[in-house]
């Protein structure tokens, strides 16, 4: 076990405190609570993408499909087995993880480039979408069904908060765990191996780094988190529909969030989610019909001109005026935390 870098943990803690306080000014507004839960869910998706795409350059374009496997899997298993969704969720997430693991394994074994993985997973996404719509008997087809699993009412009564607020703090807890796990991962031997593979795969393999192993682990972890968070995503909507797990709905959103926030930064997913969800809500109030068009233009613009993201840009500014000396990976990974 290695110690986590203190400044990273401090930043995660700071973000956690801010997010924990966020619902207080708008207490009682169901609308804002829904928006905030959505923000957390999107941020968690982006953390997962940050592992597989950010760390190992495997562009998964079936994030919606993986989330769908988690959400539908949880619901269907709960109905079939008659046990609580808290038990079926890990099973469904594990299944999503195994799908990710298989894809990464095939891709790594056959030395797929980033383009190949993206096209392969895009095709898988479409298969999953077709199955969700087509298997009408089990999924309810394109009309879906109400998602009323994970009874929160007992917890809500016990702590004296609204159900939505309970869901919010539960999601926040999960997000903080994911962020800390991310920090741990990139500062462990895995992070070192990821970096070596990113820089030169052949060179990394020649000094004994098991490239296939590391890519498969990243693929599994990421897909598992997508499956896990997928259930929260359905829970937030209260209703489950194939279109909610479509490429255009999930993948595009999560990609934009991660790029806006900053690829390979710890807080990038959270900051990106905050910015994108805010844009979404502002547009929702004024220019609903132009939401898709604006997101498309944003994706083009971000990729052409702004690929490093907000967090690195802010870090550079702060470093420039000497507020923070080093935020990113440029110091030794195993520095004792104090």
């Amino acid at each position: 076990m290695i110690a986590l870098p203190r400044d990273e943990v401090r930043n995660v803690g700071l973000a956690a405190v801010l997010l924990a306080l966020a619902p207080l000014p708008v207490l009682g507004s169901s609308y804002y609570q829904t928006v905030l839960v959505h923000l957390l869910v999107v941020a968690m998706f982006a953390v997962a993408l940050n592992v597989v795409f950010g760390q190992t350059d495997q562009l998964f374009l079936f994030m919606g499909g993986l989330a769908g496997i988690g959400a539908y899997g949880t619901a269907l298993l709960t109905d079939w087995l008659g046990i609580t969704a808290w038990l079926t969720l890990p099973i469904a997430a594990l299944f999503a993880g195994l799908v990710g693991l298989s894809v990464s394994w095939i891709a790594a074994k056959r030395k797929f480039t980033v383009v190949l993985i993206s096209i392969l997973t895009l095709n898988l996404q479409l298969v999953i979408s077709e199955v969700l719509v087509g298997a009408r008997d089990v999924t309810g087809g394109s009309t879906g069904f109400a998602y009323t699993y994970f009874s929160m009412s007992e917890i809500a009564e016990a702590v004296g908060l609204g159900e939505k607020l309970v869901l919010y703090y539960l999601s926040l807890l999960l997000l903080v765990c994911l962020l800390l796990a991310y920090v741990w991962l990139v500062h462990s031997n895995y992070g070192v191996a990821f970096q070596a593979i990113r820089e030169d795969e052949t060179a990394a393999a020649s000094i004994g780094v098991d490239v296939v192993h590391y890519k498969v682990v990243a693929g599994f972890v990421s897909a598992f988190v997508f499956g896990l968070v997928g259930a929260f995503y359905a829970l937030e909507a209260g209703y489950i529909l194939p279109s909610a797990f479509a490429f255009q709905t999930v993948d595009v959103l999560v990609l934009i969030v991660l790029i806006v926030g900053g690829l390979r930064t710890t807080l990038g997913p959270v900051v990106g989610a905050g910015i994108v969800v805010a844009i979404e809500e502002i547009l929702g109030a004024t220019l609903t019909n132009w939401r898709t068009a604006i997101f498309g233009a944003l994706l083009v613009f971000l990729f052409l001109y702004f690929r490093s993201g907000v967090i690195p840009a802010v870090d550079d500014r702060l470093a420039g005026i000497g507020v923070m000396s080093d935020e990113r990976d440029d110091k030794p990974d195993d520095e004792p935390a104090g």
């Binding site: 030395k111 095709n123 898988l124 479409l126 298969v127 019909n289 132009w290 898709t292 068009a293 498309g296």
Partner: protein, 286 residues
């Protein structure tokens, strides 16, 4: 009991769908082979061509005039995209360029979809009024025959252009060896512009022939792009004849699967084929 006549009719519809797929696949293959850009927005141009043609029809133009105007309009739009977005993409090299191309054209297709669906939210079809044609005891869809005729003519013109004209030969030189082409005085960037614009015209025509037989909505754009990707993957991304062969094969397979086991399974077969080919022969695209 399925009669021979029905089989023939399904086969002709399959070939028509195959010709449509081949046109889309050729559109992707041309641009990827020449500039390493996977044009994920290609389907959006097909839809735009249908919408332009519909608008012209609404203004009282004849079908042929409407189609020609629509093709000129999407081609002009293609030129604009090439001069702006693609010029930025071509600044990077290798894998970086491929990735940038994917994101830029993906953003473009989302932008076009989002913007256009505000003004043209319905489904559109181009009325051909040819009905059903009896061919040796089989009742063949007339629009399928027109699609096959128009599509094959377009592909023949394209091949004649690439094989016979000087610019076509220069294009094939850039395909094979960019440095060599530059040394003998061919400007690869201008050839790329020409081919991109050409691929957009082909995609526009693909959309138009598709609309002869079926409804097209803005949402079809993304679906067309995915078809195009599948065709070019199965055909080997850099081979034009491969794209045409794969398009015809997949079109026929899809139509028979559609007929015997239903459209959802037919779709899954289509996507599944692409996955199997990618896993079995990943070198087709790299």
């Amino acid at each position: 009991m399925v009669t021979i006549g029905t089989m023939v009719a399904v086969a002709v519809d399959g070939i028509a769908f195959g010709v449509f797929l081949a046109l889309l696949g050729v559109g992707i293959t041309l641009v990827f082979g020449l500039g390493d850009v996977l044009n994920l927005a290609i389907g959006a141009f097909s839809v735009l061509a249908v919408i332009f043609a519909t608008v012209m029809l609404g203004r009282g133009q004849g079908l042929v005039v409407a189609i020609l105007v629509a093709l000129v309009a999407v081609t002009a739009l293609g030129l604009l995209i090439d001069r702006t977005l693609l010029s930025l993409v071509y600044r990077s090299e290798g894998e970086e360029r491929i990735l940038l191309g994917i994101f830029t054209t993906l953003g473009l297709v989302i932008f076009i979809d989002g913007a256009v669906s505000n003004f043209y939210p319905a489904r559109y079809t181009l009325p051909l009024d040819v009905g059903v044609v009896p061919v040796g005891g089989a009742a063949v869809t007339g629009s399928s025959l027109v699609i096959i005729a128009v599509g094959v003519a377009m592909l023949l013109v394209l091949f004649a252009f690439l094989r016979r004209t000087f610019v076509g030969k220069a294009t094939r030189t850039v395909f094979q060896d960019e440095r060599g082409a530059q040394l003998v005085g061919v400007n690869p960037r201008r050839i790329r512009t020409l081919i991109f614009v050409l691929s957009i015209a082909v995609a526009g025509l693909a959309g138009i022939v598709f609309a002869f037989g079926s409804n097209v909505s803005v949402a079809s754009g993304f679906q067309f792009t995915v078809y195009a990707l599948i065709v070019s993957i199965v055909g080997g991304v850099r081979s034009l004849t491969g794209a045409i062969g794969a398009g015809l094969l997949l079109g026929i397979v899809n139509e028979f699967a559609n007929f015997f086991v239903g459209s959802y399974v037919a779709m899954i077969i289509l996507f599944g084929t692409a996955i199997v080919v990618l896993v079995a022969k990943p070198e087709v695209i790299s």
